[in-house]
Subunit: 219 residues, 2 copies
């Protein structure tokens, strides 16, 4: 598949590299064409890798991963010609974290709204799936790094779009039992607000290498 | 120990009954003396159980559990003579959930503040420990209902107060490895905001009988 990865940070590079490994052709999008990080990534990955502007990447792709910093995601989307996104699936990996007052960050949107919903509202003809935002990037694409049936929490309004994302997740090694569909995109409020706990668990554990397993009743 | 349980709902009754079982003397506090739910509870529990107003309960106790609905907790605390609380440990089990627009609830405070912090601010001479608020009441007092080393997430400014709460938790069966101290009371933001995910997990799983285990890296 032709896939766009918006964002050149750790999450974008990790996701884009994993998608290349799975045989996809990936264009990394950034604010400017020929962004040094995007160019270095594309050169390191061979002929299945490209780079361009956010709009170039969206136009190229069948499916789009939003791996930009959540605070900037709406501006990024605003810079893209909507005709290059409409009808496609957008996987929103971002969290609306504001680190401007240091650690732990606050959320720029929460409680009565979420970034996932905001993106779905500005892109009514795009099928937004919120996924992968509840764990650090290395685990997104290699769930077997962690022990046990830890969960991938997902939400979105379109069942077919979620199924497409499930297939990509499965290619990374996510098992059927690990996938937990919370419902429509408004459930992104739950997975984004969990970040307020995630950052504190990260601080207490002193590692981002963790995720949630749901303990259930005995027998 | 003489313990006050503020609140006559499911959480209060479950906690109070479990504390009686562990040999404590418990006064259930409510808005009015002789509240029917509190009286019925006290009569069912024998001579170690009492009931009275919130203020009566605080005056009686060495340690106080706040099991009131989080939306009302500050008003409840305001109704108590501060001399009856100062110097004591207050375990804040409440979550600031507002169900007035149905399910899922919103939080009445989050992101830049938390109920735990609000309580600590109005009671500067009380040692507030946020605990037990991340799981349903049956599991609070009987962690062995769930399989696996699921976590009890705790925060508070006073190490001795947290140790007192740890001893009570241990009496309910919480093991050392299950106790996870996130730091000062401001970390309550994380455990309270997790409720936005908790209610959605509850909805997806169709049971409140779950809690979090932290998946960690393979050796």
């Amino acid at each position: 598949m032709n896939i766009a990865v918006l964002g050149t940070g750790d999450v974008g590079r990790t996701m884009a590299t994993a998608l290349i490994k799975q045989g996809h052709t990936v264009m990394m999008g950034s604010r400017t064409a020929d962004n040094p990080a995007a160019r270095a990534w594309a050169e390191s990955q061979g002929e299945s890798a490209r780079q361009g502007t956010f709009d170039d990447a969206a136009a190229f792709a069948d499916l789009v991963f939003n791996c930009t910093a959540g605070m900037h995601s709406l501006a990024v989307i605003d810079s893209i010609n909507k005709d290059h996104l409409n009808g496609k699936v957008l996987v929103d990996v971002a969290n609306p974290l504001d680190f401007s007052n240091g650690f732990p960050p606050r959320l720029t949107v929460c409680n009565d709204d979420s970034l996932g919903e905001q993106i779905q509202r500005v892109l009514p003809d795009v099928r937004v799936v919120k996924a992968f935002n509840t764990l650090a990037n290395a685990m997104m694409v290699e769930p077997a790094r962690l022990e046990g049936p830890h969960q991938l929490l997902v939400s979105g309004n379109d069942a077919d779009a979620k199924e497409k994302v499930r297939e990509i997740a499965a290619s990374f090694g996510w098992q059927h039992e690990q996938w937990l569909d919370l419902g429509g995109i408004e459930q992104a409020r739950g997975t984004e607000m969990y970040l307020a706990l995630w950052v504190r668990l990260y601080n207490a554990l002193q590692t981002p290498e963790f995720n949630l397993i749901l303990a259930r009743s005995r027998a």
